[in-house]
Symmetry: C2
Subunit: 435 residues, 2 copies
C-alpha cells in the first residue's frame, strides 16, 4: 500500500480554484470516508491572496508564490487553475519536472500544447488529470476513456460552450438578434467582455480536440478542427429552422467516416425531437455513439466554480487512489492508437444543408437557384418560400439531401453572383438521420 | 507491474453473454491498444452450447460446465451472466472463493444478496464489478462512484426500466390502455411473458437499491425500497397530466431529506419541460443532483446484448488495469459511510400529489372533498373539473401543494367512503420544484 494522506497544492485561486478549495475543505470528511485516504489541501498560490473568496482557508495555506507549491516536496498533486498558455504551461511542466502529478482545467493549453505536456508526464511517470477541461462537472473524460472503453466511438455531438448555447437559446425563445442576446449574456456574467473564444467556436474547438483524441486515439490536433461561430446566425434562420422542425445549436462534432476523422465546430440544425436539441441555456450536453453501446448522452453544467471543482476533485481522488493503492498511475497521455488516421478536410465533409437565399421578388429565381444546385450534385429535399420581405428581397429557404461541402461552397459562389440574388446566401449544416 | 494478459471466463451465454463475447472478440485489438494489456476470452460456460449465437467462438472456448470456468487457475476474471439468484450466487461465491475477480450484470442478486457477496469479496481481496447491473450501457456506477465522488448526492431520479418506459410512452402517444401497450411490448420482445418484475417496479427497485447504496454509503436495503408499479395508470391520467403540463414516468427516486434517505419507485408526474420527461421508449436516463455539480443527466440504452456488454467489458478493463498496474484493486464493496442513516418510511415522505376523484355529478362534491383534504393538512394547488363522464361519474382532478403521504392515505380513505364518490380515488405523486 502507498500513502494514506495525499497532499494537494492549487495554483490559481479564481473561480474554479475557489470551488475546488471549497470542496476539498468542506467535503473532506466524506471524501476520506469514500476513499480510505485523506486529501489535505496544503497550499494555494495566487498573485492576489488578499481578496475575500467567501471561504475560510486555514492559516499558512495561502501563498503569493507558485514556487511554494511547485517546490514543496510534501505536495503530491499540483492543481493548475490559472488558465491561458503562460505561465500555466510553465507551472505544469515545473510540477512534472518535480515528479508531481498534475490536475488541470486548462483546455486551451491542453488542446494546443498537450502533446508536449503529456509526453513529459509520460517520461516522468506522473499523471495529468483533465476531467475539468471539458464540460465542467460532466465526467465526460472518464466516460469516454473508461465507461465506454469497450466501444469504437462512431460519433460525438457536443454542446460544450455554455455561452453560445445561452445566446442561441435566448435568440430562439425571444426572437432577438445575436448582439442583443450577447449583451444579455455579458450582463449576466455568462460571456466575457471579449467573447471571441466562446462565440467564434474556439473554446468548443479546444474541447473537441481533447474529446477527439480520446475517442480516436489521435494526437491532439487543434489546428485541424474546422471552426465557425454563431455570430452570423439570425432569428430569421432560427425561425425557419423551427418551421422545418429543427433547432439551431453550436455543435462540436467528431465522427469517423470512411476511415477518416471529422472534427468540426459550427452552428448546426438538428431535429427538434432529438434529446440534445432540448438542452437549453448555459447547460452542456455531449451525445456519444459507440458501436456497442449505441446512443448515449451526458448533461450538466459546463462551467462554474462548484461544477468544475467537482471534476477537479474527481481527478484528485483518482490520482490519490493510485498513490494510495501503490499501483502504477493510469497512463496519462492519449494512447495514440489511430495516429495514422487522416483528419478530413471540411471541403470533403458530407452533410445536409439549410440555405437561405435572398432572392429578388421575380419569377424564375427558384428555377435558376435550383439549376445551380442540381448542377453541383446537390439535391433539394424541401423549399419554403413566403411573402415575407427582408430588405427588399424575399427569403427562399431550401433544405438539401446529403451533399459535399465543396459543392455547396461552389454553388453559393455561383448563386451569390446571380443578379436576382440581392444578398449573401446563408447556409447552416444539418445533422439528422436522412429519411 | 502485473500481468499483461488478462484471462476472462464467462458463465451464461445468453443475450448479454453473447454481446460481451462479441465485444471481447471483435474489439480485442482496440481494447488492447487502449489499455496496454490483452484480454483473452478463455472459456464460456452455458448449459446449451449447441445453439447458434451468430458469433464465431474459437475452438475449445465453449463448455457446458461452469466448473471449467470457476476452477481454471488461468482465469483471472469470472463474468456471471446467468441471472436470477441460484445458481448465479453459487457461481459468484465459488469464483470469489477461488480468488477470482467477478463481473456481473445481476441486479436482482446484488440488491438482495449483495451485502454477503461484497463481504466475501472484501475478505478475499477481489473485485466485484457491477456496472452492467444498472441502466445497461450507461456508465452510471462509474459516474456515481468516481465521476461525482466529490459530491454529496442530494437526489437521484431514474428511468431505469425500459419496459415500463416503453409502455408509458406508448400509452401517452397513442392513448391506449396499459394492457394494450403491454401486449405490444411483449410482441416486440421488450416485455417478458411474465412482466411482473418490470411493470410492478421490482426491477427498478433492485437497481435503485444499488444506486442508493453507492450514493449514500448505506448497506444494500432492497426490502426498504417502496415499490409501486404502473398497472393502475390509465390513459385518462396521462391526458390530465398533459393538460397540467406534466408527463407520467415510472421513476426510481433516492433522496436525502432531513438526514434520512428516501428510496421509492412509483409512477411519477414530472413537468413536461424537464429533460428527463423527454426520455421515451425503451431508453433509460438517470438524473443525479450533487451539492457541487448541481444537475446532471445520463441517457442511453438500459438493456440489450451490446449496450449491456459494453458495461461488462468496461468492468473487465477496469479490473484488468488494476491487475496490470500491480496495484490493489478498487475496494469492491460499498464503503458504508452512512450506515446509521435511517431509511424514511413511505408514510413520512412529502410530495405534491395528483388526485383523480370519481365524483357523482352533484352539487357540493368538490366542497366535501376539499374539506377532507384541508382537514388533513393538504392544500390544493389547482383543480380540473370537466363534463367528461367516465362510467356514470365525473372525474375531478386536483393537484396539491406538498403534503405528507400519511395524510394523503387518510384523506383517500375518507373520500372513498363518501356516498358522492363512486369509485376508488387515483393518486400519483408529483415531483417538481414547487412554485
Amino acid at each position: 500500500m502507498g500513502k494514506d494522506r495525499i497532499s494537494v497544492g492549487i495554483i490559481g485561486f479564481g473561480t474554479v480554484g475557489s470551488g475546488t478549495a471549497r470542496i476539498l475543505l468542506e467535503n473532506r470528511d466524506v471524501l476520506s470516508r469514500r476513499s480510505g485516504f485523506d486529501i489535505a489541501l496544503k497550499r494555494i498560490a495566487d498573485k492576489d491572496i488578499a481578496r475575500d473568496r467567501g471561504l475560510k482557508v486555514p492559516d499558512g495555506v495561502l501563498t503569493a508564490k507558485a514556487e511554494d507549491v511547485l517546490n514543496d516536496p510534501g505536495i503530491d498533486i499540483v492543481v493548475e487553475l490559472v488558465g491561458g498558455i503562460h505561465p500555466a504551461k510553465d507551472f505544469i511542466l515545473g510540477a512534472i519536472r518535480n515528479r508531481k502529478h498534475v490536475v488541470t482545467a486548462n483546455k486551451a493549453l491542453l488542446a494546443t500544447e498537450g502533446n508536449e505536456i503529456f509526453g513529459e508526464a509520460e517520461k516522468k511517470g506522473v499523471a495529468v488529470g483533465f476531467e475539468a477541461s471539458v464540460a465542467g462537472g460532466i465526467p465526460i473524460i472518464k466516460v469516454l476513456r473508461e465507461g465506454l472503453v469497450a466501444n469504437n466511438i462512431t460519433a460525438i455531438y457536443g454542446i460544450i460552450n455554455g455561452t453560445s448555447n445561452y445566446i442561441l437559446t435566448k435568440m430562439t425563445e425571444e426572437k432577438v438578434e445575436f448582439s442583443e442576446a450577447l449583451s444579455e449574456a455579458q450582463r449576466l456574467g455568462y460571456a466575457e467582455a471579449d467573447p471571441t473564444f466562446d462565440v467564434e467556436g474556439v473554446d468548443s474547438a479546444h474541447k473537441l480536440t481533447i474529446l477527439s483524441s480520446l475517442a480516436y486515439g489521435i494526437p491532439l490536433s487543434f489546428n485541424e478542427v474546422y471552426k465557425e461561430g454563431i455570430t452570423n446566425i439570425t432569428p430569421r434562420d432560427i425561425e425557419f429552422a423551427a418551421e422545418l422542425g429543427y433547432k439551431v445549436k453550436l455543435l462540436a462534432i467528431a465522427k469517423e467516416a470512411g476511415g477518416e476523422i471529422e472534427m468540426r465546430v459550427h452552428p448546426t440544425m438538428i431535429p427538434g425531437e432529438y434529446l440534445i436539441s432540448k438542452v437549453d441555456g448555459v447547460f452542456n450536453a455531449i451525445y456519444v455513439e459507440g458501436d456497442a453501446v449505441g446512443s448515449t448522452l451526458y448533461y450538466g453544467r459546463g462551467a462554474g466554480d462548484m461544477p468544475t471543482g467537482s471534476a477537479v476533485v474527481a481527478d484528485i481522488m483518482d490520482i490519490g487512489r493510485s498513490i494510495f493503492s501503490g499501483g502504477a498511475v493510469r497512463p496519462v497521455g492519449f494512447p495514440v492508437v489511430g495516429a495514422n488516421r487522416r483528419i478530413r478536410k471540411i471541403e470533403d465533409v458530407e452533410s445536409m444543408y439549410y440555405f437561405r437565399f435572398s432572392a429578388m421578388d421575380q419569377p424564375g429565381v427558384l428555377s435558376r437557384i435550383a439549376g445551380i444546385l442540381g448542377g453541383n450534385n446537390i439535391s433539394i429535399a424541401s423549399v419554403i418560400q413566403k411573402g415575407r420581405r427582408i430588405g427588399g428581397s424575399v427569403p427562399l429557404v431550401v433544405l438539401t439531401h446529403r451533399a459535399k461541402e465543396k459543392d455547396v461552397l461552389r454553388s453559393v459562389r455561383e448563386i451569390d453572383n446571380l443578379p436576382v440574388v440581392s444578398d449573401k446566401t446563408m447556409f447552416i449544416r444539418v445533422e439528422a438521420k436522412e429519411e
